[in-house]
């Protein structure tokens, strides 16, 4: 079995599953998120630290164990952004943009400062830097903002075209565009595509915090790539195929901390002097000391971050004060705004799967500490009463899964009826758009002189925003005010057993 073939097969399978995860619709998404996301490093780490669930802890441990045994194979086999880059690297090989890779010096200062900075900011209670650099979340945002809309656009164009042949299909809603978030995501898309086309896996080796952290661990890995100097004829074949640029033939050293485990070098060596085997024999010599240093740094960092992650008291104290007067509303299941902003890695999976597209990317709406994290986009859309999909797919536990019954009484906000804007109160004419769509009987009518005036009883309100969406006035006469901490609403009981399906065929026609 050729390991490169296996890698290509596995990685293509993984990235297609990720595409299905983001674009596949309700059933596929909730199923795949359960299979794929416990084995993504950042989501699993956040979940394990904030809302531990067995499968995520298993996922996290297995990533560590696999890295300890095999090195950074995670980056080539499981990381969707890594595979995404590999596709572009293969493409640039094909079209001849860059056929040969070369050895690159490690950019230690850059990668360790990014990792260090991220650990510090997370400890201070801001997810912004994690969100910006986490490879899974970057991939998720690229899919959500560019790939999925492209698919939907094609689908809708086809649906529209079919009308001329008298075939009528359901079109699909697209994700609303938030220019600022789009700009960030586009910059990252361009950055990553250019880097991969020109410099192979430079992002993974110099910027990606997950790569850096796993690199520290892989220095200690059981299996290592090595070059047997004696048989090497310095053909440099291995160097030209090394996307990570980590093979130093002059010193016959392969930098384990940057090797992404793609097995390309094994494949091309004509003398078969590049080996991948238990590293016991290489234990002596200069590679040992940086490994120990790495372990110490990594251990301290991990322990420190874990400690600070669970001492939320300190974090709350140090957390930057939220900006903006109008606070965003967070999706049902996110417990509170603080819980949400401190656990969301902004992968935008919820944005992709939300059927009403009410969950929308934000830019600075949560302040500097919650860059790009999604929010409930009222009154552009509304939260579907009979849906709890966002909680079912969220990997980090920022939106926790709710049963349908729980979701239908989870109050994420309350409504405010603005009687100085409402047409019924101003013009004394019937409207009732809000009452028609309210799923919880929060809004009812009071009849005065045959005019039906809407009134609000917020104990039933779950803040779904249907009323606000339906309201015909501009600006809206009924708006949702956020609950910083979500509450429980009272379930409105239906009338005491109405006469059901009562037969009432008229005796005589009343005309």
């Amino acid at each position: 079995m050729n390991p490169v073939r296996i890698r290509i097969a596995v990685s293509l399978l993984v990235i297609s599953l990720f595409l299905f995860l983001f674009c596949g619709g309700e059933k596929i998404s909730s199923y795949l998120s359960f299979i794929l996301l416990p084995f993504q490093f950042v989501p699993a780490l956040i979940r394990a630290l904030t809302n531990p669930a067995v499968i995520f802890i298993i996922g996290l441990i297995s990533i560590f164990v696999v890295t300890l045994i095999f090195g950074r194979v995670y980056c080539s086999f499981l990381c969707p952004l890594g595979i995404f880059q590999d596709i572009f690297i293969a493409l640039s090989n094909k079209i001849g943009w860059r056929r040969k890779h070369s050895f690159q010096k490690p950019r230690d200062l850059l990668r360790y400062s990014i990792l260090g900075l991220i650990i510090i900011t997370v400890a201070l209670g801001s997810m912004s830097l994690v969100n910006i650099f986490d490879p899974y979340s970057i991939f998720g945002r690229i899919i959500t903002q560019f790939v999925l809309p492209f698919f939907l656009w094609i689908y809708n164009v086809v649906v529209n075209g079919m009308k001329y042949f008298h075939v009528y299909l359901y079109s699909k809603d697209t994700v609303p565009v938030v220019m600022s978030a789009l700009f960030i995501n586009l910059s990252f898309l361009i950055l990553i595509v250019t880097l991969s086309l020109r410099h192979g896996r430079l992002y993974c080796n110099s910027i990606c915090p997950v790569g850096t952290l796993l690199g520290l661990i892989s220095r200690l890995s059981f299996f290592k790539f090595a070059i047997d100097k004696t048989g090497c004829n310095a053909c440099l074949n291995c160097v030209t195929v090394c996307k990570a640029g980590c093979i130093d033939t002059q010193n016959a050293v392969i930098d384990q901390s940057r090797c992404v485990g793609c097995f390309n070098c094994l494949d091309v060596c004509p003398q078969s002097v590049v080996s991948y085997c238990p590293a016991v024999k290489n234990r002596e010599g200069e590679t040992w000391s940086p490994a120990r240093r790495g372990l110490i740094i990594g251990g301290v960092a991990a322990a420190g971050s874990a400690l600070l992650m669970i001492t939320s008291g300190i974090r709350n104290l140090l957390r930057p004060v939220h900006a903006a007067a109008a606070q965003p509303i967070t999706p049902p299941g996110s417990i509170s705004r603080d819980h949400f902003t401190q656990a969301c890695s902004a992968c935008h999976l919820c944005v992709s799967v939300c059927p009403t597209k009410v969950i929308t990317p934000s830019f600075l709406d949560y302040g500097m500490s919650g860059l790009l994290q999604p929010l409930m986009n009222y009154p552009e859309s509304f939260c579907e009463y009979e849906c709890n999909l966002c909680g079912r797919v969220c990997p980090t536990g920022a939106i926790l899964p709710l049963s349908m019954e729980e979701k239908q009484i989870t109050q994420i906000g309350e409504v405010d009826l603005l009687k100085d804007k409402c047409v019924v109160y101003i013009n004394h004419q019937n409207c009732g758009a809000c009452v028609e769509v309210c799923p919880t009987k929060t809004i009812t009518f009071v009849n005065r002189a045959n005019i039906l005036y809407p009134v609000v009883d917020n104990q039933y309100c779950i803040g779904c925003g249907a009323c606000s969406k339906a309201c015909p006035t501009d600006p809206k006469s009924i708006i949702v005010k956020p609950n910083a901490v979500h509450k429980k609403a009272v379930k409105s009981l239906t009338k005491d057993t109405p006469i059901q399906q009562k037969s009432a065929i008229p005796q005589d026609f009343p005309f």
Binding site: Y385, E436, P439, C471, P472, Q500, K502, A504, F509
Partner: protein
């Protein structure tokens, strides 16, 4: 008794006069088939009401009393059937038109020689309400498909703005092209309670062929509903009063077992949208005078809400 005779005589005079005019006009225009059509139309009722049957059987009976689908559809014509599919509800809730009725209507259209029969509604969106949910849950999608009806999910791109002559409030509206293009327009509302307009029947059902229905709410529901009928009156209105949602309308409860539904097993049919609404209002147990848009529709001469002035044929199965 004297009263009765008087109306009869007046009616006779009126009909005779109009018949004479029509005949004269037809002869001048050379359209004798029109003359014949009018001859049969004379014996046709203004409104047919059938009760105590299943939706499809009542429809067939009512249609035969009305003179057959051939009255409305000529061979090769396209038909737009507009049920009420506004909410994602099962048929048992009574918030949407009965699918069995829709199926029977489509079959009857094809039997009369229709080329294509389209079925669609502009659903109320913020209520689990994408077209897919509503069409599927209401059973109308399956029913229409099984009768070769073409079910059309509406989108924002298929509307055309029209001006409404003589409208007081709703001067313009964006109307769906299927309505503008179809040769025959059959309106198939369900009779149900409505929180803001008391009742939703035939006139109210036409809100589902315009794009921005929320505009009605903003500038005055009753007047807008009545105004729209000045632009377009359906060729035929068939009111489904089989299961009648008596409260909690227009959407009704999500769960059918909570629905305050009465099995009235009634079906009404008329060319006159105001008359059919007035009759349905009485079936519901209310007075047409109290329903704002019916009253306005009568005043704007869209139709006649005084049922005692109409020729009504009733039938109990």
């Amino acid at each position: 008794m004297a009263q009765k005779q008087k109306t009869d005589r007046r009616e006779f005079l009126k009909k005779g006069l109009s018949l004479g005019l029509a005949a004269g006009g037809a002869v001048i225009l050379g359209k004798t088939d029109f003359l014949q059509a009018k001859e049969t139309a004379k014996s046709q009722p203004d409104l047919v009401a059938v009760k105590n049957g299943e939706p499809d059987a009542m429809f067939k009976k009512a249609m035969s009393l009305m003179g057959g689908m051939g009255q409305f559809i000529k061979k090769g014509q396209t038909v737009a059937v507009k049920p009420n599919i506004g909410f994602p509800r099962k048929p048992e809730v009574g918030a949407t038109t009965n699918p069995i009725l829709i199926k029977a209507i489509i079959e009857s259209c094809y039997q009369a020689g229709a080329k294509k029969v389209y079925v669609f509604d502009n659903v109320v969106t913020p209520t689990s309400g994408n077209a897919k949910n509503c069409y599927q849950l209401s059973g109308i999608e399956d029913a229409a498909r099984s009768a070769r009806g073409i079910i059309v999910p509406v989108d924002d791109f298929s509307y055309q703005e029209v001006t409404i002559p003589g409208a007081k409030t709703l001067k313009t509206a964006d109307v769906h092209r299927l309505i503008l293009d179809a040769d025959v327009f059959i309106n198939v509302p369900v009779l149900k309670h409505h929180s803001s307009t008391h009742l939703s029947i035939a006139m109210k059902n036409l809100m589902g062929i315009v794009k921005n229905r929320m505009k009605y709410h903003l500038i005055g529901l009753d007047q807008c509903i009545a105004d729209f009928c000045l632009y377009k009156k359906p060729d035929l209105n068939i009111v489904d009063a089989y299961r009648v949602l008596m409260s909690d309308g227009p959407d009704g409860p999500r769960d059918a077992k909570d629905a305050d539904v009465q099995l009235k097993k009634t079906l009404l049919m008329s060319r006159d949208i105001v008359a059919v609404d007035a009759a349905a209002t009485k079936i519901f147990g209310k007075n047409p005078e109290d329903i704002g848009y019916i009253k306005i529709g009568h005043q704007q001469k869209t139709g006649n809400m005084n049922l005692n002035e109409l020729k009504i044929v009733t039938y109990s199965m």
